[in-house]
């Protein structure tokens, strides 16, 4: 199946700014689906990272880098260091960098950001230990 970048101008209202790991480099009002193949999942504190290869409209591979939460936060949301492995085909609903670089943020502060696998399984950031 041909991989392609789906850039949809989906705009959502965000949670109040204080509720999240605000990062002014990213457009946290946007939720953009990007579909690609995972090349690396870095499970480090305080920022885990997902790297993926994405085919653009012209068929060229673009390397995307996605910042996400710490292993502590991800663990409490049900993730493990094995949740993503190279070769996984995923769609990530993300907040892209404002400067247009293929860099993005997903995490607990930005509701609606998540990882969706080809079989429909999802990884989100809801704290499963919350009372």
């Amino acid at each position: 199946m041909k991989l392609q970048v789906l850039i949809l101008a989906l705009l959502f209202l965000c949670a109040p700014a204080w509720a999240h790991h605000g990062n002014s480099a990213y457009d946290e009002q946007a939720r953009v689906p990007v579909k690609g193949t995972v090349t690396e999942f870095v499970w480090t504190n305080p920022h885990s990272q997902i790297y993926l290869d994405v085919k653009d409209k012209n068929g060229n591979i673009v390397h995307w880098a996605v910042e996400t939460n710490s292993p502590g936060i991800l663990s409490r949301a049900g993730w493990t260091r094995r949740s993503l492995t190279p070769g996984d085909e995923v769609t990530i609903i993300l907040c892209p960098a404002k400067n247009g670089a293929p860099v993005a943020y997903i995490g607990s502060g930005d509701p609606g950001t998540k990882v969706i696998f080809a079989d429909g399984r999802e990884l989100d950031f809801k704290d499963k230990t919350a009372q």
Binding site: A19, P46, A65, E67
Partner: protein
Amino acid sequence: MRRLACSIRFLVAFVVSALFAMSQTAQSQTTGQNNARSLNTQDLSGVWQLAPGGGGQGPGDNFPPLTAWGQAKYDANKPGYGPKAAPGGNDPILKCDPMGFPRILFVIWPFEIIHIPERILMFFEGQHTIREIWMDGRKLPNDPDPRWYGYSVGKWEGDTLIVESTGFNEKTWLGAQGQPHSDEMRTIERYRRIDQDTIQFNLTIDDPKTYTKTWYAEPRLIKRKPGVEIPESFCVASEEEEFARRIREPAARQPGKE
């Protein structure tokens, strides 16, 4: 006849016992499950986490007017959060500097409170840091060495733990929004456990070199996190540099300035 009297006594005893049990059940239902467990409000043992609230990842933006010294320091701070937020910036934690106090309290990550003889320890997931509060009646030192987390002494007043701290260095921010402080800062924390799962938290900041008045931070709640373990969560400079090279810097780079 004797057998009948015995049966009546047994019946009365049974009914009285049943009524007593029912009244106890009703009472525990009305007073709530928490109080029924006879909560020891001077025991804060366990894993806790700050609840989201006003002030965000710091004591808030409601700070008193700055002194000239404080204003200059605030102007030099370039945070990634709050009203002054901009890509990049110079937040000290971007280099894995210790978050310092009181900023560590405002990270919405778990921390464990541990009671040991003569001390209370706070073990934070954020940067995997331990802070100690002396509970043996000692006074604050007169001329402490400046520290990232200061020097803290605590005491109980009824059900409120009161912690006074001094001896801070000037290298840390009070919160993610870049609020400054000086080495003259003194703080008072108040922790009051209002039920099994909730602590009321208040913080007062006195720093005449930076702020023209006492700062009463936004009151916050701290909620219990039963069953949560504190994972290893060091901030490691080599990992942070790699993250900055691969993600933070490309995301913050301004077009045309590469």
